[in-house]
Amino acid sequence: MLDRREFVSLGALLAAVDYVPRALTAAEFGAAEEFVELIVPGSKGARVMRYIDMGLAHGVGEAGAWKRGVGAWLSGKVPMGELAAKELAPGTELERFFGVAKRAAIEAYALSEEGQRDWLGYRGGVHLTAFPGCTEEHG
């Protein structure tokens, strides 16, 4: 039985942890978050890895590919420009992971409120009485 002080401390601890990774380990999650932030800046604030990890835990994407990819990233970091240059013809584990992480991160970021608002400037999802269509003249 927890006393009040222990109960409050546990609550504070849980609030600080925020999210416990399910598919990846905490270390893998942290590294993946760093990697993804380099590909899609703003991902961390939009909690993109939380979204991806939840999906991986339920078979959306291949958790093994993320574990291998993060492992490769931790064992020898490569400049992003080099990975991006190989994106269409990846040869190494890390080059393949770049493509996997990028696709997942773009989707998760576009679906986040931060991505929609700050990146895309989206102001939709509201009740309109009429849809104006294109009101401008172009070329």
Partner: protein, 536 residues
Amino acid sequence: MAKEILDVVVVGSGPGGGIATYALCQQGLKVGLVEAGRRMIPGKDYNGHGSAHQDWEKRLAAGFKTPMWKVTDYQEKDHFVGVGDNPRHGLLKALGGRSLCWAGHTLRFGPGDFAQWPIGYDEVAPYYARAERMMGVSGFRDGLWNMPDGEFLPGVPMRCSEKMLGKGVAKLRGKHREAAFVPIRKAMPSKGGAVPRATCHFCGHCMAGCEVDSKFTTANTPIPMAMKTGRLTLFLQSTVVRVLMSKDGARAEGVEIVRADGSREEIRCKALVLACSTVETARLLLTQGIGNSSGQVGRNLTSHFGLTVVGLFPQVRGRDASNDDGWDYYHSMLSGMYWREKSKKFEGTYQVQCGAGVHPKKLSIKWAPGFGESMKAQLKDWNTIHAGMNMQGMLLVSKNKFVDLDPVKKDALGMPLPRVHLHYDDSDLAMADDVIATCEEIIKLGGGTVHSSPGKATRENLVIDSNHWVGTARMGTDKKTSVVDLEGRSHDVGNLFIGDGSVFPAYPEKNPTLTNVALAWRMAEKLAARARRGEL
């Protein structure tokens, strides 16, 4: 006490069955509507308004793999066997059937299309008008001879990149090509008061299921209207496993259903309407060998097929892209292709549904090279200035496309699974190549550049429309070459009627639902007239 014999049992509550049910009740008949699924609750069972990130965990826990609560989540899986070039077959067991997940595109077939039918445009036109009034169709009057205008509520305009495509099509016409570029028409009321449903609020989730019931479905309009007559009995979560036939096989006497709890019941009727979908109706008939003296049940299968070409229009860069939601993705279409002057390379016609805009919940362009802020900026720019062109071609009717029964595989109730055979013909490939070339030309004529294109059609890159199948019980005057007569009545079984797209004797490039609804309405009135004459 003897069990009641209903006037009519309708099997299937989608666009055809739902309308037939309403029309029959309205004509004073007692109707039983049998639907394998349950009643879905818009906004609860599906709700595109929700936040993807907030709902993600709940959806994953519920076994879904996509972020939005879509009505298509509930589509059947493992319900057919595909043979050939990746056939797909959508089946939604729910009150309203696939009217819950249709895009709402509502186009009349034209006199040129009906030239291949045993009934003419003038015969169907009054039913089109009635259907449009009930469905609440919004559109512009475009004056196209082979896609006639209907009874429209105010239309909804195009987005900017689509207008650029329109400029390209205008230049194509200047090169003496028969073509038109028009706003799409949808069964989505743009103005209040016309139909007893909510006015569209342009949130853009039509195909995911309209959570405010603005989009026409048979569950939100004709079936409730039928209920109000007091002559409708609903049999939900009830699957028909057998048509009860008279000993001589000349009459349908009812159906045997299996309920969700496994209990069985026989429902007796004076007339039977099958409207289970093109594939499922054929399956039911083939399983018992009903109405198939012609050998045509399951034959003449066709659908629409397509591919996508995407263009970029730098002229629209800098436009206000803050809310492109609208009427889902497609707001416009290329029409009129090969209506008069037929192609020498392929048979038939096609249309191209066009869309544009930034839709965060389903980015149209999902990839740009590189990483970091420059990649993000590129991706945003491309989505802002793009236009997508999605081919909808009429699939050639041939011996290479048909439905039969799998000799081994059965469903949970022991009924044979249907097999859908799809092998594209050379004509189909030639049509798709023509679409690719035409779309690329339109984009360039409109001042844009081609962002992505298949380049060349192959049997692997063509995509069949899983919801547009028609033709497995076609209408005709000759008992040897058709399954139903001009009223939709079986040539072999005098009180068996078919009320779905399977009766289409030929298929143009246009979306099928409005014609399906109009034909089912007409069939129901013919059936009711027979009932009044004591012919059932």
